[in-house]
Symmetry: C2
Amino acid sequence: MPTDLPRRKRATIHDVAVESGVSRGTVSRVVNGEKYVSAEARIAIEAAIIKVGYVPNSAARSLVLQRSLAIGFLVHEPHSLFVEDPNIGNILLGANQTLSLADYQMVSLIIDTERDTERVARYLSGGFVDGVIVVSARENDPLTRLIERLGLPATFVGHPPDLRQLPFVGINNRGSARAITNQLVATGRKRIGMVAPAMDRDSGSDRMAGFRDALGDRFDPALVASVPFYSFSSGLAGMRELLQRDPLIDGVFAAADSVAAGAVEALREAGRRIPEDVGIVGFDDSSWALRTQPPLSTVHQPATELGEAAARSVLSQLRGEEPNLAGIILDSPVVWRASA
Amino acid sequence: MPTDLPRRKRATIHDVAVESGVSRGTVSRVVNGEKYVSAEARIAIEAAIIKVGYVPNSAARSLVLQRSLAIGFLVHEPHSLFVEDPNIGNILLGANQTLSLADYQMVSLIIDTERDTERVARYLSGGFVDGVIVVSARENDPLTRLIERLGLPATFVGHPPDLRQLPFVGINNRGSARAITNQLVATGRKRIGMVAPAMDRDSGSDRMAGFRDALGDRFDPALVASVPFYSFSSGLAGMRELLQRDPLIDGVFAAADSVAAGAVEALREAGRRIPEDVGIVGFDDSSWALRTQPPLSTVHQPATELGEAAARSVLSQLRGEEPNLAGIILDSPVVWRASA
DNA sequence: TTGTATGCGTTATCAA
DNA sequence: TTGATAACGCATACAA
């Protein structure tokens, strides 16, 4: 039987004060590293803190300070996306890094069900976080409305069309899609198709718009296969369909690297050589891009930097600065490799 | 210029009480859905709540209740792993699902630097969470020690060797590795190698031990390529090395599907057919397993279920039940496909 | 059924 | 430089 050490009650400032023979006020000053406390008091108190194992209670501190020093990171994704999307991890890491430097604790909340939505709403309303970063909000998202109502400092990564008065960071999906399609055209391809994922999101439809921009008159709706997700299997299915619709296709824009990887597999199945028979380009420059054979030409999405920028944006709001409602757009250059 | 609606101060119970003409105590009772409150009072209060936009302050509630109704989910991973590991997402989702049903808010904290460790320590100590789920703790982890000292209800996913008195959930890595290696042997392979990732973690070394168990006398250390991470590129490098060491190799155990996928690529480079020339098996049954050509034979790791079990374990501790220190081991059956 | 009063652990104001 | 003491917003025991 394990030694059943009774979980001692947490020591409070009061305990430290008693132990060291000073008042609670003085202890508080030491804990917060303020000036105007005598050397001897400080020494006695520091010893007492260790002795009684004091650790400050954040709930009490939040209550009086009216802030928690924590920032929420909301992820609102269907299962598969959260598990497969390589960008989200980097956004998370970038945001955490910046918040960490400012001594803010980042807490990620994942929203997966209706029930989650309500609980997270309570969490946000309750003062557990001072601000929030939101990735992949959907259009008409109840949490977006809540954040607006609460006046909670927030920054979105990407911008759902109904965002209106809230700041966001993002990339120029349309312009980058246009740019890489242009480069694909420049390689001399004649029949260029697109595997178009996630048309229900702004990122998806914007990339499609850019593709269309670049092709102009040569755009052929019959050469666009719309697929639901940013995923490998979506790419596999989409490319198979495209090959069936037009076996002579010689260029493909797969609007996410994971999708492109699936498309590459479908092309290989069909015995097409890359880039000799068909040139293919992706989007994201995620780890997928270097896994295909040959490596993908793609658009570099600065995921880490997006996280950092979002974090900086909420921190600046916390300092009382006016948020940039026009949005912060980061560069997303084409990186050309061997797949086209 | 946007209409600058001044962010109203948050309404309190007091405001509701004034608005509805009753005492704060009664309001509190309504908010918490208690009995013994007259219908008319309830109606008036509910109207007032909506009118003033009252939402309870969780910090204050935590303080008096001495609990936060939140559970931490600690992720302690080097960058690359967090971004690439497909299991962690499922563990997260499983845990969130179970906690959500119990009306607990799961908050994920990611630990990436020394600074993060200290901040998270403060966060855990400060009463922001009632318990914690820890994935991928390392040996000699300061947070493990902290959790012990705090007596914070906790459950680990996987078990660092120095865990001692803390409950955990996991799978039988060694047994499953042995089982799948045995099946590989049974296909008639004569020269079987292993790409062995993450030997510095218990999961890595246990899988290696199982491989060795299965091979017995036929185990040849020269046919083991140790690689640092559970990643595609590790698999690629490891398999290339193995092929160089022994071009006649005809069977491979790559101890994670991501690693196996990399190995498949290396084999393809080398012109080896799968499974005709060499049979390969993986571990995890992650989405990688269905992306290789042919699909991987592997060990099914019940990631979602591990998350659920971990969540159930901390919840039971919160109810005051004694934790199962012997560990909860879930089934991880071999799933045989076409790669061997 | 309702109101009053007290305490949860901190910080901050004001005298001393 | 230090010590009282009053908030912070809520729940609850007790009285009414």
